[in-house]
């Protein structure tokens, strides 16, 4: 049981002492001793640590592999992991860790309510009732009737299991993609 003063988010107990962890962006090259504090060194190029830690090594930024249809959305830095996204026309498939081509909606879907926004999850085009949960297994959407792509993006929150933002590869009449997938 760590004593109250040695709060576990920024401190750790070592040899009975309450020592300071390394702050985000640094790794612990040496733990504290009876007479010295922890030694923290900055993460190297292409590495990061996003939290206070006792790690002896930083994490490596993932590769936004163009060979899987990915591009860099946020390069990441010593405290924040790199973010990738699929290039337009593709959406991230968590199952196979690749960018899958957005399927085409059948013409019938597009003509029926051209002004509405059809949200299309993975490879199924589905019409969503107003504020109804979508047919996807764990995605929650609200159905907006709107004409402007950017407004739809801001107002619609797409949650996946890992709290990532999933692109709205919507079936606009012009087939324009308004959001970015974040694998």
């Amino acid at each position: 049981q760590i004593s109250p003063r040695c709060n576990s988010e920024k401190h750790y107990e070592h040899f009975g002492r309450c020592c300071t962890k390394c702050d985000p962006g640094k790794y612990m090259s040496a733990k504290c001793t009876a007479t010295s504090e922890s030694i923290c060194l900055p993460c190297g190029p292409d590495e990061y640590l996003h939290t206070w830690n006792e790690e002896d090594k930083c994490l490596l930024h993932k590769v936004c592999d163009r060979g899987k249809g990915l591009k860099v959305v946020h390069p990441g830095n010593q405290t924040f992991p790199r973010q990738c996204a699929c290039i337009p026309g593709y959406h991230w498939s968590e199952d196979f860790e690749i960018c899958q081509r957005n399927g085409k909606c059948d013409p019938g879907f597009e003509a029926e309510n051209p002004s509405d926004l059809w949200l299309w999850i993975n490879d199924r085009c589905s019409i969503l009732r107003r504020n109804k949960e979508s047919s996807g297994d764990n995605f929650i959407n609200t159905h907006m009737s709107t004409n402007s792509a950017s407004q739809a993006y801001e107002d619609t929150l797409l949650l996946t299991k890992e709290e990532k933002i999933l692109s709205e590869d919507s079936c606009y009449p012009q087939g324009h993609t308004c959001g970015e997938a974040d694998p």
Binding site: H50, T51, N53, E55, L59, E94, D95, F96, I98, D137
Partner: protein
């Protein structure tokens, strides 16, 4: 650890395989703990991790959803201290499993040498779990400690 054939998830989505035998047949475990479907490291050290996953489909199991499949395994490490999960190893293949063939089979093997810390957990994810071969000589994974961390 060998797959518990009686408790394999269905579907083709990527799933976490959490139902393994750790004490039956070829499965054995020591100095590590198996709980909540994950293999937990008890001692810091350098470990060799490996996994062998077999997928199969017999025509008597009904048609496949698609003939174009991607059969994959991911071996993941979870570090609770920094709330981080990352894939250590992945393997697999895209496959064209023709509907005209009676039987299809494909095995993946991955292995690698990793520094692991006490408290870290190893887990297995696969795509297309319903195609998994449930035999103990087909679908299994494990780890053994090679030496301490200097």
């Amino acid at each position: 650890l060998t797959i518990n054939g009686t408790n394999i998830p269905t579907g083709s989505k990527k799933v976490n395989l959490s139902s393994w035998y750790h004490d039956r047949g070829w499965a054995n475990i020591s100095n590590m703990t198996f709980s909540n479907g994950k293999l937990r490291v008890n001692q810091d050290g350098f470990y060799y991790l490996y996994a062998n996953i077999c997928f199969r489909h017999h025509e008597t199991s009904g048609g496949l959803d698609t003939e174009f499949l991607q059969l994959m395994v991911y071996v993941t490490k979870t570090n609770m201290k920094i709330q981080n999960s990352d894939t250590l190893m992945k393997g697999g293949s895209t496959k064209y499993w023709s509907k005209n063939s009676e039987f299809h089979f494909y095995s993946i093997n991955v292995g690698g040498f990793f520094k692991l810390r006490a408290g870290e957990e190893i887990s297995i994810q696969v795509s297309n779990p319903s195609l998994l071969d449930p035999a103990q000589d087909a679908t299994y994974f494990g780890a053994f400690k090679v030496r301490d961390i200097d």
